[in-house]
C-alpha cells in the first residue's frame, strides 16, 4: 500500500507532476519579469495541459502508429521513474540501490532519446532535423554532465544518491567543487533544451523541432515530462551541491534559487548554433570538469 502511494501520489506520480507544472510557471514568470513583462497567470501551465489533452490528435501519414503513441508514454514514464530515486522536496528517496545515480541519469537521457525517436519517426523534414540536433546535443552535454555529477559521488565514495546527499548534508560541495557545480547546472539547461541550448527546437529555423508533427495528447505528455525532468534535475543538483536533504521548505528555497539562476541565464543568452553548442561542451565544459577532477585528486 505504502509503495503504491509512493509511486502514484506522494512523493512520486501526482506530486511530481504538480510540482513540475508549478516550476514551469515559475520559470516562465521569472523570465517574463526579467524581460520587463507581466508574464503568464499562475494557472497557465495547467490551462495549457488541459487544452492540449482536450485537443484533436492527428496522426500524420507514414508514421509507425505504435511508436507515435508509445514514445510520449515511455518518455513520461522514464522521468517519473527517475523521480523516485532522487530526494524530492528534501525527503529521502523512495527507492534506493547501489549505482542508482547512473540509472537516474540514463532515465533522464531516455526522455531526450524518446523525443528524437519521435521526431525521426515522422516523414517531416523539420522534425527530422530537430531529432538530429537533439541527438547531437545529447552527445555533447551528456559526458560533461555525467562527469560533473560524478564529482560528488567521488567525494562521498558512493554511487548511491541517498548516500551522496547524506554526505552532502555536512559538506557543501559547491564550495569544494565550484567548477563541477557550474558544469552540472549548465548541463541541466542543455538537457532540458532551455534557451541558449534550444537549437533542437529553434522555431525560427525548423518550426518546432522534433515535436513538429505532434498535437494534442502526445505534445501534452512531452511537455509534462520535460517539466518533471526540470524538477528531477534541479533536485539532483541541489541535493548534491547545496547541502543535501533538508526540511522541505528550505530545500524548496534552494531549488528556487537554482531556478532563478537558470532563468537568468535563459534571459541573458541568445540561442547558440548547434556547432557552437558542441564546441562549448567539448572544449570548455569538458575541460572544466577535468580540471575539477585534477584538483580533487591533487587535494587528496
Amino acid at each position: 500500500m505504502q509503495a503504491v502511494i509512493a509511486l502514484l501520489i506522494f512523493p512520486g506520480g501526482l506530486c511530481v507532476l504538480l510540482l513540475g507544472l508549478a516550476y514551469e510557471w515559475l520559470d516562465r514568470k521569472l523570465m517574463a519579469q526579467m524581460q520587463n513583462r507581466v508574464g503568464p497567470r499562475w494557472y497557465q501551465p495547467v490551462a495549457d495541459l488541459v487544452k492540449l489533452l482536450a485537443k484533436q490528435e492527428t496522426m500524420p501519414n507514414g508514421v509507425n502508429p505504435l511508436l507515435f503513441i508509445g514514445l510520449p508514454l515511455v518518455g513520461l514514464a522514464s522521468v517519473l521513474t527517475a523521480a523516485l530515486y532522487v530526494p524530492l522536496v528534501g525527503l529521502a528517496p523512495s527507492y534506493s540501490f547501489r549505482g542508482d545515480l547512473i540509472v537516474t541519469i540514463y532515465l533522464l537521457g531516455l526522455l531526450t532519446f524518446c523525443m528524437s525517436l519521435a521526431g525521426s519517426n515522422t516523414l517531416d523534414r523539420f522534425s527530422l532535423m530537430g531529432a538530429l540536433r537533439a541527438l547531437t546535443q545529447l552527445f555533447s552535454y551528456e559526458v560533461p554532465f555525467l562527469l560533473a555529477l560524478l564529482g560528488p559521488a567521488l567525494a562521498a565514495g558512493s554511487w548511491q544518491i541517498a548516500e551522496i546527499s547524506a554526505y552532502a548534508e555536512t559538506h557543501w560541495l559547491i564550495l569544494t567543487q565550484p567548477l563541477g557545480f557550474v558544469v552540472a547546472l549548465i548541463g541541466l539547461m542543455g538537457k532540458l533544451e532551455l534557451s541558449p541550448f534550444d537549437a533542437p527546437e529553434a522555431e525560427t529555423e525548423i518550426v518546432a523541432g522534433a515535436l513538429t508533427e505532434y498535437s494534442g495528447r502526445g505534445l501534452a505528455l512531452f511537455h509534462l515530462s520535460r517539466d518533471v525532468a526540470l524538477v528531477v534535475g534541479l533536485t539532483l543538483v541541489a541535493a548534491f551541491y547545496l547541502g543535501g536533504m533538508a526540511n522541505p521548505l528550505w530545500f524548496f528555497g534552494k531549488t528556487l534559487l537554482l531556478l532563478l539562476v537558470v532563468s537568468g541565464l535563459q534571459a541573458l543568452f541568445a540561442r547558440l548554433r548547434i556547432d557552437q553548442t558542441v564546441g562549448l561542451w567539448w572544449r570548455y565544459g569538458m575541460l572544466l570538469v577535468l580540471l575539477q577532477w585534477l584538483l580533487m585528486i591533487v587535494w587528496r
Binding site: 516562465r28 517574463a32 524581460q35 520587463n36 513583462r37 507581466v38 508574464g39 503568464p40 497567470r41 494557472y43 497557465q44 490551462a47 495549457d48 495541459l49 488541459v50 487544452k51 489533452l53 482536450a54 485537443k55 484533436q56 490528435e57 492527428t58 523539420f126 522555431e203 525560427t204 518550426v207 518546432a208 515535436l211 513538429t212 508533427e213 505532434y214 498535437s215 494534442g216 505534445l219
Partner: protein, 155 residues
C-alpha cells in the same frame, strides 16, 4: 445516469476553460504588404506582453489554436493557406487581421489575388485597420476568446 451527465458537463466545461485560457497562435501571411505583420510582431514584444493572456506564438500549425491571417489571399498562397488551416487540429479559430484580410483592400480585383480570407477559409473574428494597432489585435484576440467561451467551443 445523472452522474454521467454531470461528469460530461464538467468535462466540457474544463475543456472550454483550457481552450479559452491557453490560445496558441500561428501567424500566416497570405500576400500582405508586411504592414500588418510588423504590427503583429509589435504585439508579441514585451511592451504588450501577450503571455499574460496565455497567448504563445507557435512555429508549427499542429500546435496552434488560432490562425492569425494577414493580407489578401493571392492565387499562389491560396493552396498553402488551405493546407495550413487543415494541418491545425480542431478546435481551431481564424483571426483575420487588417483591411486586406477582411475585404481584399487595395489589392481587390488584382489579377493575381483571390480576394479576402473568408473566401477561402472560415473566419471567426475580424480586426480592421491598415494596419491595426497592437491594442486592436489584442482586443480582437480577447473578443475571439469571449466568443469561444460563449459558444462553449463546439468541436
Amino acid at each position: 445516469m445523472r452522474l454521467e451527465e454531470l461528469w460530461e458537463q464538467l468535462e466540457a466545461r474544463l475543456a472550454t476553460w483550457g481552450r479559452t485560457h491557453s490560445p496558441w497562435a500561428v501567424h500566416f501571411n497570405s500576400g500582405s504588404c508586411n504592414g500588418c505583420d510588423i504590427e503583429i510582431l509589435a504585439t508579441i514584444t514585451p511592451r504588450y506582453d501577450l503571455e499574460r493572456f496565455g497567448v504563445k506564438i507557435q512555429g508549427s500549425p499542429r500546435h496552434a489554436d488560432i490562425l492569425v491571417c494577414t493580407g489578401p489571399v493571392t492565387r499562389q498562397a491560396r493552396e498553402r493557406l488551405l493546407r495550413i488551416y487543415e494541418q491545425m487540429p480542431s478546435p481551431k479559430f481564424v483571426l483575420a487581421v487588417g483591411t486586406c484580410a477582411i475585404s481584399g483592400g487595395v489589392f481587390q480585383g488584382c489579377y493575381n489575388v483571390v480576394g479576402r480570407v473568408d473566401a477561402v477559409i472560415p473566419v471567426d473574428m475580424y480586426v480592421p485597420g491598415c494596419p491595426p494597432r497592437p491594442e486592436a489585435i489584442i482586443d480582437g484576440i480577447l473578443k475571439l476568446l469571449e466568443k469561444a467561451q460563449a459558444e462553449g467551443v463546439a468541436t
